[in-house]
């Protein structure tokens, strides 16, 4: 059965390149030119995955994501970022999106990511074998808001691959979710120590350094008490 994918990006050349990259796999692809268009399409069909550009005129990607969740639509989301845009990883995580890909990306990069996102739901804790599966399962836990389990699995995954920056980055995101900024930064730095070119950790670290987190009135609920610098 073909998986149904919605590509949301205001740039035509991006929509076309994604259509090409994902063409002969087991996917059918629909295109949306902006946030409003995406919401209309979502009301008319069911999708397995949305590729969502963050920087768009009108409704930006995060706003679209929020609206999708407000409507109770559970679909998988991959956020697409352009160079220099800060990944609002924690915000996205609270809205059930944990996968980011930065433009430009190679065909194999996007295909691999789409595949792992779509196959994530079948993973069972008892059947995890290698590092990748542990990492994916941890992401699944984060998306399902099983944060303690996610942390446990992430720590386990590190023992299977000590070189990988990704688990550390995700532990950082989790720490940030719990408002433990120093610990979050420690994790982001650990990720960067393993791979100085790992952009997500670099951006996350930069973001936590720039934003002022206000101590007063913090809660772990929906509203973020962060001021952007």
């Amino acid at each position: 059965m073909k998986q149904h994918i919605l590509v949301v990006d205001d740039e035509k050349n991006i929509r076309m390149t994604l259509t090409q990259c994902l063409a002969d796999e087991a996917y059918t692809i629909d295109l949306a030119v902006n946030g409003e268009d995406a919401l209309i399409q979502l009301s008319q069909a069911d999708y397995d995955l949305i590729l969502l550009d963050i920087k768009m005129p009108g409704l930006d990607g995060m706003e679209v994501l929020k609206k999708i969740r407000d409507r109770g639509i559970q679909v998988n989301v991959i956020m697409m970022t352009a160079y220099g845009t800060v990944e609002r990883a924690v915000e996205a995580m609270k809205l059930g999106a944990i996968d980011f890909i930065s433009k430009p990306f190679t065909p194999s990069e996007i295909r691999k990511l789409v595949q792992s996102v779509l196959q994530r739901h079948v993973l069972k804790e008892t059947e995890l074998n290698h590092f990748e599966e542990y990492l994916e399962f941890a992401k699944k836990c984060l998306l399902e808001q099983h944060y303690e389990k996610a942390e446990e699995i992430l720590i386990k995954s590190i023992t299977l691959n000590v070189e990988a920056p990704e688990p550390h980055n995700l532990l950082g995101v989790l720490a940030e979710y719990y408002r433990d900024i120093p610990r979050a930064q420690k994790h982001y730095r650990a990720a960067l120590a393993l791979d100085p070119t790992y952009r997500p950790a670099d951006q996350n670290l930069e973001r936590t350094v720039q934003w002022k987190y206000s101590q007063a009135g913090m809660n772990l609920g929906d509203r973020d008490d962060t001021d952007e610098r």
């Binding site: 390149t17 430009p104 065909p107 990069e109």
Partner: protein, 142 residues
């Protein structure tokens, strides 16, 4: 040529045309130019990414994910820029296929032996003229 990750530097007439031809087969293209208005030369069917930045800056190439590139084509209007970018792609980032356009063929000696493919517009045009002349007069080339 399918599914290759191709970076083109310089969206002049040549660069835009090369992009058009590469788009036909299924490739993933990244077009880099210092000036975003140059992207208007890209055809309607262009499918790929665009980056407005100076490719002489190392950061730009990293941002374009040059270490994952299968092909790099340097088609700016400046020979020296093309020569530098091609060498960086080949010698530093080990891009498997690197091609550049130059006007002045005598500069090609710099990177001789590095496996960079040179497209010298001056020489190609001269050859084309010579062939055209030969066929017009009904004379076959020796």
């Amino acid at each position: 040529m399918k599914d290759k990750y191709i970076i083109i530097v310089g969206c002049g007439r040549l660069g835009a045309h090369v992009a058009k031809m590469f788009t036909r087969s299924r490739n993933s293209l990244v077009m880099i130019d210092k000036d975003a208005t140059a992207f208007s030369r890209l055809s309607e069917e262009y499918s790929g990414f665009t980056i407005e930045a100076d490719a002489v800056e190392q950061d730009t190439l990293l941002r374009a994910k040059i270490d994952q590139a299968d092909v790099l084509v340097a088609t700016t209007d400046d020979d020296n820029t093309n020569i530098m970018i091609a060498q960086v792609a080949r010698e530093i980032h080990h891009v498997p296929e690197v091609m550049l356009r130059i006007y002045d063929p005598s500069r090609a000696k710099i990177y001789e032996g590095t496996g960079i493919t040179t497209i010298c517009t001056t020489l190609l045009a001269a050859e084309a003229f010579s062939q055209a002349l030969g066929s017009q007069e009904g004379v076959t080339a020796p």
